[in-house]
């Protein structure tokens, strides 16, 4: 009689592996407002666009591939709401060029690169371009397909790598610029070149983009980056990384994270009694943080590096207009920096489509031609204006804004210095 001992964990591992494989496989409107979104070249040739994929002669459809679920939905949902509010406003004015309604085709990428490819392929034939693809890793994943298919997409990601890409329509100052301006602000206010300056980054392309900016700032401004602590998205405990930073006496820590991680990093730091000056890239922030248990710690120790004005500052024309539209089309929308980005992004998309209609061609080639024909993307203070043109002529905004945490302000952020550009940021070149 023989006995066989079967390993249950072994079978489970095999099942898990199969599951992992399965999971991987599944995968301006010229509206009569006095705001100008883009400045077209003067030699425009009017025409009537022919129906093409994504345009049936009456409605223009644009794709949105964004995390509608999962941890990054906390960014994707308000950002998409910003897209939607602007397009609803455009449609209320008659649509693109006052003639063609615009519709969003939304797909959930869960902030997963592979899923982004799946969703992109699923809807690409139904849209003229992508008004949003959220995230640096997802954008990187889909970029070869955009090139191959000759489709334009606007990344909701501030990586500097997008600037010279023919098929991308980035807006805003890149992460690298945020870090450079953040370092400049820190050195001008609290720190010095002798300060112990460190970074804590998500170990992926998003984190690498922020670190690239900080390294450039170190060279330009004459300080050293003492420690770079890294973590993986989804880590549950950060004591090890925080101990590393504290052991090296880091006085300022530049953080590159998304909100579901940043809240736990700051929470762990607070409970460990570690209180450096935190400088968080814009995607580290969430309005809810200003009202939670962490608020006193964050008010004391955190600056957020972002762009534009405080939510509701109606002295800024773009913000005043956005608030008006938000109250009209999304009255329940809470103040949120990602909503602002999505709104500004949709303005840029509209500028391209307006120009394409003006040139009489909404085909993929026509949209690229229209995009290259624009001289400047303007945002009325919502984001830095973007000198535009063919890829080699694009010059991203160098401005950033520094915000402190203040629970009494909308979005929990109080402007400390708004829309400034450091010399170091101006010196940064985009390859």
């Amino acid at each position: 009689m023989h006995q066989l001992t079967r390993s249950l964990p072994g079978r489970l591992l095999a099942a898990m592996f199969a599951l992992a494989l399965l999971a991987a496989a599944c995968g301006n409107g010229d509206d009569g407002d006095d705001t100008t979104q883009a400045t077209p070249s003067p030699d425009a040739t009017p025409g009537e666009p022919e129906p093409v994929p994504g345009f049936d002669g009456t409605t223009i459809r644009v794709g949105v591939v964004t995390p509608l679920s999962g941890p990054a939905a906390i960014i994707g949902l308000p950002l998409t709401a910003g897209n939607r509010v602007w397009f609803e406003h455009v449609n209320a004015q008659g649509g693109i060029a006052g003639r063609y309604r615009i519709e969003m085709v939304e797909a959930d990428n869960q902030y997963i690169a592979d899923e982004t490819i799946t969703q992109y392929n699923r809807i690409k034939s139904d849209v003229v371009m992508f008004a949003q693809i959220l995230g640096t890793p997802p954008t990187q994943a889909v970029l070869p397909l955009l090139r191959q298919d000759n489709i334009v997409a606007s990344p909701a990601s501030l990586d500097a790598d997008w600037v010279r890409e023919q098929n991308l329509l980035p807006i805003g100052g890149p992460y690298q610029i945020q870090m450079i301006n953040g370092a400049d602000y820190y050195l001008r206010t609290e720190g010095s070149t002798d300060s112990v300056i460190c970074a804590m980054i998500q170990d992926d392309p998003y984190g690498a983009a922020g670190l690239e900016g900080l390294e450039f700032a170190a060279g330009e401004l004459g300080f050293e980056i003492t420690t770079v602590a890294r973590y993986t998205a989804g880590d549950q405990d950060f004591t090890g990384q925080l101990s590393q930073l504290r052991d090296n006496n880091c006085e300022a820590v530049f953080l590159v994270a998304i909100p579901s991680d940043s809240v736990r990093i700051w929470g762990a730091a607070a409970t460990l009694g570690y209180a450096p000056r935190w400088l968080g890239q814009s995607p580290t922030w969430l309005t809810a943080f200003a009202g939670g248990d962490l608020a006193p710690y964050l008010e004391e120790n955190l600056w957020i590096i972002a762009e534009g004005a405080e939510w509701g500052d109606e002295s800024v024309p773009g913000m005043a207009e956005m608030i008006e539209h938000q109250e009209q089309y999304a009255p329940d929308q809470e103040p949120d920096i990602y909503f602002v980005f999505g709104y500004a992004q949709a303005r840029a998309v509209t500028a391209v489509l307006e120009r394409a209609v003006e040139l009489g061609d909404l085909s993929r080639e026509g949209i690229i031609a229209a995009m290259n024909d624009l001289d400047r993307l303007e945002f009325e203070g919502l984001s830095g204006d973007y000198p535009w043109g063919p890829p080699e002529e694009r010059d991203p905004p160098r401005e950033s804004s520094i915000f402190g945490v203040n629970a009494d302000r909308p979005a929990g952020l109080e402007g400390l210095e708004i829309n400034f550009a450091s010399d170091a940021a101006r010196a940064f070149e985009f390859d």
Binding site: T5, P9, A15, L19, I74, A229, Q236, D237, L272, D293
Partner: protein
């Protein structure tokens, strides 16, 4: 030494969380032989319910936990009754896929109901800490360890001394024989899912407390806890605790010592890899986990 103790403290607390999540897996596996991949979603929904009871309806924190446990127990029974019962007798892999699908459905449902922002569970622990010598220990970490021990103790007593606990063990060992002895396998299955729901509330609250808040990403902990469950033994509550502690301490110690010193060689995120290396090494010696039951088949 202070750094070591600080990391040890955090590692034990993380391990306690892993253990609590694993206990939810184990209770169902022990009774039904099914790996419930939806356990992470149970954790999320449990924490969201506590949010509703404390924040939406203004109930005190501890009664809210009890109410959430009751609701999750019902949800567990309903899931078993409506979905899993129909899978009895089907291949294990098919059942696992069903629980995986359940995970996706519940996560999306939670997103639709509670939205995407972080919501507070109203815990009294907040960011408070106590000093043990030079080591700062979070109050919530003390609760994590304490409640982990309490739940484990309750499991031990339940399985060892209660009629239903013995019935569950018998059903897991041989369902047909158990039924022949008058044990209601249906009741056993339903109860195991109810208990998994109750444990998920404890895990969810302890994860979402301490200033973090609850959102759907809370459920990711279940995937991180898998090495602990496998290492400890799929059907062993005690193994879950030991496995959780080993994996938690390994993860935090690696992040604290190995990453800074050898990150250029082994990679800066070696703390994510190390638990799997430990798991593989232990399983090479004990393929059924530290405390798992050998499955013996006569041929």
């Amino acid at each position: 030494m202070t750094k070591f103790l600080q990391l040890l403290s955090s590692g034990v607390a993380l391990g306690a969380i892993y253990a609590l999540v694993c206990l939810g897996f184990v209770i169902i596996y022990k009774a039904t032989g099914v790996i419930n991949f939806a356990q992470g979603a149970f954790v999320v929904v449990g924490a969201f319910l506590v949010f509703n009871f404390t924040q939406t309806w203004g109930l005190p924190f501890y009664p809210s936990i009890l109410l959430a446990m009751a609701v999750m127990a019902v949800i567990g029974v309903v899931v078993e009754r409506l979905i899993l019962r129909r899978m009895v007798g089907q291949p294990v892999f098919a059942v696992i896929l069903v629980t995986f699908g359940l995970l996706i459905v519940m996560e999306h449902g939670a997103n639709a109901i509670w939205g995407y922002t972080l919501l507070p569970v109203g815990d009294p622990w907040g960011l408070r800490t106590v000093a043990l010598g030079d080591v700062m220990v979070r109050v919530i970490d003390l609760w994590r360890v304490t409640l982990g021990a309490v739940v484990l103790g309750a499991f031990f007593l339940f399985f060892r001394y209660s009629r239903m606990g013995v019935a569950m063990r018998a059903t897991a060992f041989d369902a047909e024989a158990a039924i022949a002895q008058g044990i209601s396998a249906r009741r056993v299955f339903a109860l195991s899912w109810a208990i998994a729901g109750v444990v998920a509330v404890v895990a969810g609250v302890l994860l979402a407390g301490g200033g973090r808040g609850v959102d759907v990403s809370l459920g990711f902990i279940a995937l991180r806890a898998l090495p602990a469950m496998i290492l400890g033994g799929l059907d062993s509550p005690g193994g879950s605790v030991v496995g959780g502690l080993i994996i938690g301490v390994t993860e935090v110690m690696t992040a604290g010592y190995i990453n800074p010193a050898y990150g250029d060689i082994v990679g800066q995120n070696f703390h994510v890899v190390m638990p799997y290396i430990v798991m593989i090494l232990i399983m090479m010696v004990r393929p059924y986990g530290l405390f798992g039951t050998k499955e013996v088949v006569r041929i």
